[in-house]
């Protein structure tokens, strides 16, 4: 075992989540904080997200990803007790909060932390996970890795592209490719609606006359060394391709934007409970996981669409970790949330009794004019869609403790066109 250094708080991952959590903990008076990042650069996914649209909620101005990251890097510098280690990978975390890291400069180092915040973010679902038949030629990229190649390394993938998946990253990449002179033939979406923001559909597709095919998928990839074409087919309501209606699109690049999964190898190692609905750790109103003293925030807990929400929630986790270290979070009573009608996921999953808790809620399918019920509280929702987070601040008086849980549901809505 390497020699062990004692610190108050270890934060794993220096994306927006880890940076906000570390800064908030420092501001709350935590003295020895170590922020660990496996990359050379701070900011997590942000440096490659060169488009704007970040910061409207948090900074009340519109920033690009690198600018948003820059603001937090400046904050980090204000706290001398907060040490940042880049190119340092966390390899093991134990339930009693020993954090083992490895780096080229220091080799193996072990920290004994009073508290740990997990902020490892998420990664893209690999192609294997979606199983398209056909050859395995060059020219197939996941949207996030292509974003890195184009925006950081200045690489151009080809001349013509088809994008599978209409989430925000797929839409953003459709525009980015078009601006660089790559012809985007189509964006295909398996679902009958897009998961992307309206704004991105308008400004990334409609502005450039890129067709969006809903309820369509790629059924086969052709090409010897390089992608030459893909076969596309509409799907029926059970998502089975209707082969007779298939058609070919020639392209030399296929971009897969097929979802993100929280990066939870370390969480599993610690033994924290994961929520199948989010893929991330189950957390309470303080963003504490099911293992005491281990907190989780940002995309590792829930894949957020807005980095602003990541910052807000992570600052809350940072302050909570500070309170925990001071012994201010005692054993507490909590109630589980329960997903009712048209609810896919709710974070936090455990509501600490008496605690006002901002909730991030996701619907299963799009609807108009539904009423969101949370315990005894309710609000009207003009539109809900799986692509947009529903916000609700749960107040202590919304909960009836006698129920034993807090039910969240959307009622009376109408499926929209």
């Amino acid at each position: 075992m390497p020699k062990t250094k004692a610190v108050d708080l270890v934060v794993v991952g220096a994306g927006p989540a880890g940076m906000a959590a570390a800064v908030a903990a420092a501001e709350a008076g935590v003295e020895k904080i170590i922020l660990l990042e496996r990359q050379a650069e701070l900011g997590g996914i942000l440096p490659q997200c060169i488009h704007n649209g970040f910061g409207l909620r948090y900074f009340k101005e519109e920033l690009t990803g690198p600018e948003y990251a820059h603001r937090f890097v400046q904050e980090l510098k204000k706290h001398p007790g907060l040490k940042v280690k880049t190119e340092t990978m966390v390899v093991t975390i134990t339930p009693d909060r020993k954090v083992v890291t490895t780096s080229a400069t220091e080799g193996l180092v072990c920290y004994q932390a009073g508290a740990v915040i997990l902020a490892m973010g998420c990664r893209e679902r690999p192609r294997g996970a979606i199983n398209i038949p056909g050859t395995r030629p060059a020219g197939i990229y996941t949207a996030g890795s292509l974003q890195y190649l184009m925006n950081i390394e200045g690489f151009l993938p080809g001349r013509s592209a088809v994008i599978l998946g209409s989430g925000d990253i797929g839409l953003i990449m459709a525009r980015r490719l078009t601006l660089e002179g790559v012809r985007v033939k189509a964006v295909l979406e398996l679902m009958p609606y897009s998961n992307g923001l309206n704004r991105n559909i308008v400004q990334c597709l409609e502005d450039f006359q890129i067709p969006l095919y809903l309820s369509h998928t790629v059924t086969e990839i052709f090409g010897e060394k390089r992608v030459e074409k893909v076969r596309v087919a509409p799907v029926d309501k059970d998502f089975k391709p209707i082969a007779e209606k298939g058609f070919d699109l020639s392209c030399d690049t296929l971009v897969l934007s097929v979802g993100l999964i929280p990066e939870n190898e370390l969480s599993l190692q610690i033994g924290v409970e994961l929520d199948p609905a989010t893929g991330g750790p189950v957390v309470d109103s303080f963003y504490q996981t099911t293992v005491e003293g281990i907190f989780a925030c940002g995309n590792v807990a829930l894949v957020h669409d807005l980095v602003d929400d990541v910052s807000t929630e992570s600052a809350l986790a940072g302050r909570a970790a500070a309170a925990y270290l001071k012994g201010e979070i005692k054993t507490k009573r909590w109630l589980p949330v329960k997903a009712g009608r048209n609810i896919r996921s709710i974070v936090p999953q455990r509501i600490v009794v008496g605690q006002t808790t901002p909730l991030y809620i996701r619907a299963r399918y799009p609807e108009r004019n539904a009423t969101l019920h949370v315990g005894d509280g309710q609000t009207k929702q003009q539109v809900v869609s799986p692509g947009e987070t529903i916000y609700y601040t749960l107040k202590p008086e919304d909960i009836r403790t006698a129920d034993g849980w807090v039910e969240v549901s959307l009622e009376g809505g109408r499926v929209h066109d």
């Binding site: 060169i50 600018e67 890097v73 980090l76 001398p80 040490k83 309206n198």
Partner: protein
């Protein structure tokens, strides 16, 4: 008649816009903000443009943006100008990379920092280590 999707709020109203005798006639908007949106889109649509430019002596690109939105019609001309740019380090975030991009009156500014010798490092190396 033109159809637009209002992007001002998540409702995403489908707007139908017609050129009438007394100006634009807009239907389908859920609220007043939709009218202003449709009017802007029909008369002078503008967009922010973000991209990357080459850095002399570096394998990393520098991210850039137009300082404010530029006319939508100038987007491609702006991209052509951006593709021709190579900057020399150091460059500070917020620095003007090119004035009056594509005759839009709007400058192109850096959204990242390159601290000397062509390496893109957003200054984190100057942060303390134990």
């Amino acid at each position: 008649m033109t159809e637009l999707t209002c992007i001002v709020c998540p409702v995403g109203c489908r707007l139908k816009v017609e050129q009438g005798k007394e100006g634009l006639k807009i239907i389908g908007n859920g609220c007043r903000r939709g009218v202003a949106y449709a009017r802007d889109e029909m008369t002078a649509p503008k967009r922010m443009l973000t991209a990357v430019v080459q850095v002399a002596g570096s394998e990393r690109m520098l991210p850039v943006k137009t300082e404010t939105a530029i006319p939508k019609a100038k987007i491609y001309a702006a991209m052509e100008e951006i593709k021709a740019i190579t900057v020399s380090p150091p460059v500070m975030i917020g620095q003007v990379i090119k004035e009056n991009l594509a005759e839009s009156g709007v400058p192109l500014v850096a959204t990242g920092t390159i601290a000397g010798e062509g390496c893109f490092k957003p200054l984190e190396k100057s942060l303390g280590s134990e």
